[in-house]
Symmetry: C2
Subunit: 263 residues, 2 copies
């Protein structure tokens, strides 16, 4: 069943972020979206501008908690900007880990990159089938695990115009694989993120340097820890903390980047 | 003598950059500006919006060639954005090195940081005296040597709100000095700039990490070499090359940053 809603009610700290983008005159339309691939059921979410017409499609990949209100809120924000935003469900509709299980569930995908890529590719393909999406104009953004995910999607050689990682882990791949990337890449990185320390960042950059045709940018934000865009992140002793300044700046950087790509 | 001009004629490759910013209704006013400090004569340049009123003042510090049309063009661009832009003359009015002498002249300042800082401080003070400048709202930007220069100015503890380095060398200072920085810092960095290789970048970031109150950001642009914003840079074998994409993006990043700082 599809739940069609015009307004999703979020916690105040999510609403405060969402409302930085004004609601367009035609409003937005949003609802959960069930899809399936390879016999597995998934429950994503879609938000699009009200009215007719096709728009660029932005895949939004969740952090290790899966599809949450945080992800839905980001989709709504993107819809307010004129994009169709589709929240991928990498885990599957039956898998909604609590905070104590999330690392293990995400870890399963980090350790099984073929499965991870299959799930990402399925969600990306599903998004492009959406009637409101212009399948020739697509991007993917993601948070934490989702940031790593969109870089992983790009490494498959997916025909995606742009990817944006927010505090994602910075992985490398087999020699030569970086040259498969056709997407423009924007990495929004916390300079105090223990998930992506300096040696990982340099290895990531050096991997991309082997593929000089890849158009990438990396922004480091002073003192920003892991999960810096998540208002509920409050574990500085584990290196994860919301940072309102880096949240605002990184969103603005993404907006400018998408505007450059989609005109 | 002050030459008052409404339009400076630039080479076509500079005009193409300048004209990305539309001329405001009241136009801009620009002219050379002679000043002196400690018995030394300097010849800078100023560009401001037409009409009355005070505006944020942006110090613009030249690359190793000194005050050239490139710097004047950037000042005009900033004036079109509503800022008063003052081109510092670090070298002195009598020192206008050709390409073959520029490295030696700039090197003299890199080796004499007290003199370098004195020259920067003098130019900054002169800018703040300008009637069209709001002395409480200031920034400094610079290119190559000038990028290093604005970071150096920030390290003096100068009361400047923001500094932006375009492909500047990334120096460190004595232990504890980074904590003097009160300016917000934006470093726009070429990921293929041999003047600021990875080890220098990391040393720079680690130095700033010793001062957690400092608000800094560093953007790395893929494949961008030294001098990537200079249309005449064409020495890839020496690691210096114009990059139109990084030029546009870095200017846009600076604009967004100044808009954040000055509202």
């Amino acid at each position: 069943m599809i739940l069609e809603t015009l307004v999703t009610a979020y916690a105040p700290n999510l609403t405060a972020i969402l409302d930085r983008e004004p609601v367009p005159a035609d409003g937005i339309v949003s609802h959960d979206l069930d899809y399936a691939a390879d016999g597995v059921a998934f429950r994503g979410y879609i938000a699009r501008p009200g009215g007719e017409g096709r728009h660029p499609g932005i895949l939004v990949v969740h952090d290790w908690l899966g599809v949450t209100d945080y992800v839905r809120m980001r989709c709504d924000m993107l819809a307010r900007l004129g994009y169709v935003a589709f929240a991928a469900d990498v885990y599957g509709a039956d898998v909604r880990p609590g905070p104590d299980e999330a690392a293990a569930v995400a870890g399963g995908f980090y350790r099984d990159r073929p499965l991870w890529r299959t799930r990402l590719t399925a969600a990306f393909a599903r998004m492009r089938e959406e009637p409101s999406v212009d399948p020739g104009r697509t991007a993917a953004i993601g948070y934490c695990f989702g940031g790593s995910s969109v870089l992983e999607l790009a490494r498959t050689g997916a025909d995606v115009d742009a990817v944006v990682s927010f505090h994602g882990g910075l992985l490398t791949g087999p020699e030569g694989e970086a040259a498969h990337i056709t997407a423009k890449v924007l990495v929004l990185h916390g300079a105090a993120d223990p998930v992506a320390p300096d040696d990982a960042m340099l290895a990531f950059e050096n991997d991309l340097r082997t593929a000089p045709a890849v158009d990438w940018q990396l922004v480091s934000y002073a003192n920003a820890m892991h999960a810096f865009t998540l208002p509920d992140a409050d574990a500085p002793e584990q290196g994860a903390l919301f940072d309102a300044r880096a949240e605002r700046r990184s969103w603005a950087a993404m907006k400018a980047f998408l505007a450059e790509v989609f005109g």
